[in-house]
Symmetry: D2
Subunit: 248 residues, 4 copies
């Protein structure tokens, strides 16, 4: 692939404005930090978009020029416009990749793509998380150790109400006794979706090298593949080719 | 399971009123015929519901007393109320089974549960369909031959825009050169969904014994299992049990 | 299913003879205890078989009359005859269910059915295990709580070298920081395989009610389904039916 | 990946010596033709190996320097040495890709990796095959049309006794009324396996552009990923890290 992967890093961008502890960790916003480490790769080019921009920064023009969309949201999922969610869904089904991060599990777009509630258990106790690779030959596991520790995290526990993943890449262990399918991949239409749970706003998780490796690998994995079928929101009537007879 | 499986057979019930050819085949409606062959089983009890009834016949009371919902619709998918779709989705995620038939692939509830467009190719040419069992140990294949023929059908062809099935049970062959994943099962929340494509309204397909076997088996397969978790539309904050310490 | 499920409970039966601590917990052998709690169900009838019996107790006659085989082995996997493994594999592919327990992950029959090494990490530290249900609508989760604790266990940790499970039912958490896909189901031919990891010989794990529930549910889930195809060790040449023409 | 993918093209190489019709189509052997079109890609370098070479051409040195192995065999599967199959299996589990072609479905190595019989139906009637893409966003579907026709083929029909594919990419239609899961992908250990059914020796199938596209894409898809875990044929005892306490 000679062309670069065009990533749009989307962020709700509210915590950073209202909570000084978060602003201190992410002075340029969570989106700023994600765009920074992704953009450091020669094969990736980034732009950012946030909730309070017109059309949430996701105009038709932006979507048409996005190969991969990353999504971080938490307290304002309901403010995301349904018509924008409709458009994002259609772009994914026609090939765009989607990476959903942390509390984005409850975003409209992730719930739309999954068809389930995407609910889970949670706890904020600054506890330790250990992320285990359970699919070591998966492209998203490239360059990772067998497991790595997130020193302080928000616990996300099972039951995680998601469909059976097409690709289960990570399972997390938590100090308080829970487990979580923390890295899961899906095929939807011509597109791919990857969810990755670490990323609580009050910890510097997106500065951790292993986390950056996962998200960078995920960008490459969900990037579009140029396969057949150009409009999946359409059920065409088709004639049988001449050589295939349908008469008795 | 000593108790009977309570099936609600839902039908759009429009073709039968406006098209005499359909009415001739299904004088009691497609729902009437499906309820008839299902109800002949000792472990199944049926009721019916149709689009033009109040709340489409799917009141809270009906849904609360439904173990399995079967769905046939075609020309009036848009008339189904979104708030009813919301309720049906939540019932499925909390355990109710859903069986979607033929043109129901484009129903709001199926597209909601899948997260995809559920589009496909089609052709009405009275052609022959051959349904192959590709999962012979699956409960839905019980009592079936290796393959069976539907003498005249509407062709439904790939690409069928659905997520990867958890259970691929049938693949259909068509005279005109297409194939189709015609019987697919999914887990969603605590519930299960099964889609089965044969069933065009102008052919007497629901009178065919193999078709009846498939749908009857599917009712038993999607019937609720009494497992843990009682409300999946909820993300609870949980404390760690005393024996599991979260402090450093 | 009016007929009872005929279970053959297989055990290596060596630890119980050489280690008094194990013999104290399982005076009738691990197989005796498993057969006891399974046999208490009205729909199940059991027999046992052990390594040191002729043909390991798995004669053609026994296999032909076995619906479900459960397998516990540890220190003598290599003593199991390859020709018996061949026969067991063919019975599974033609419909018999197989339940592999604990250290049976390294048995010849499980490795044969998986095609992988089935290796894992382990530790004996009397630590706590918490088993989480991650598929609450699965028949094997019936009657279980969201999670349950095994007070003392041998740790089995990822990476567990198995193929992607068709059904991932349980994930275990361990005190020492590991996770494990502890309950996994597979379709193989017309048969089903279920692996369940708790069951170390020096702890009274098979007396624990939740463990018994899992294994009892698993027996029902892997029990044969009477679908088509009667000999899967055969690639038949077939003519096209008269109505399907293959000439140009 | 700056380095080229090192492909070893393996062929039984018997038909070409004994059957002049086959020799006419493949004067350099089936392996010669496959190596030729693969080697024309800038990112791929090939070598060949055949059954009658010492160690079937698969010495430790060759295997250690092979990223992807392609396999074509038919009449001499039994002559392949079991110890070589053992080595190939371990290389796959530790990351090497395997592509199995046509009658290789019955090879020792494919049956070993699958754990099933890999049986199927077949017919030689020079009939038409239509290969449908059912996973248009999959890397192996890149650059393909929605479907393509193989003008004359050997029919391979269901039931194909394989485990549930991790990736179902192609389903084939045959003139005589059968269907077949003709392109299926699997993860095994750290490695990947892809099976692709077209390729009968008496038709010039490996000269067809779409077939070449599929196999070339498959080479890139099964190529090794450098993830964690370096020896999967080993179950290590591990201590808990200092920060993870296992005492009560």
């Amino acid at each position: 692939m000679a062309d670069k992967i065009r990533v749009t890093v989307w962020n709700e961008f509210r915590h950073e404005k209202s909570d000084s502890a978060v602003a201190k960790i992410y002075p340029d916003g969570i989106h700023g930090q994600i765009a920074k480490f992704l953009g450091a790769n020669a094969d990736i080019v980034t732009r950012t978009a946030t909730l309070d921009e017109p059309e949430h920064g996701l105009t038709d023009e932006v979507l048409a020029n996005t190969d991969v969309l990353t999504w971080w949201g938490h307290i304002a999922h309901r403010e995301v416009r349904d018509d924008i969610v409709d458009k994002v869904q259609q772009r994914i089904l026609n090939g765009m990749g989607l990476i959903v991060l942390h509390s984005g599990h409850y975003s409209k777009i992730f719930r739309r793509m999954m068809g389930t509630n995407c609910s889970l258990k949670w706890r904020e106790a600054r506890e330790r998380e250990r992320v285990w690779v359970v699919n070591p030959g998966h492209p998203i596991a490239k360059g990772l150790p067998e497991s790595f520790v997130v020193p302080h995290c928000e616990m996300y526990g099972e039951f995680f109400d998601i469909p059976t993943p097409d690709d289960l890449v990570f399972i997390s262990w938590y100090q308080g006794g829970e487990v979580f399918r923390s890295g899961v991949g899906y095929k939807r239409g011509k597109g791919k979706v990857f969810y990755f749970s670490p990323g609580h706003e009050t910890f510097p998780i997106y500065y951790q090298p292993e986390i950056q490796t996962v998200i960078t690998n995920a960008v490459r994995w969900v990037a579009p593949v140029c396969g057949p079928y150009t409009d999946l929101n359409n059920a065409p009537m088709v004639a049988a080719p001449e050589q295939f007879t349908v008469t008795d």
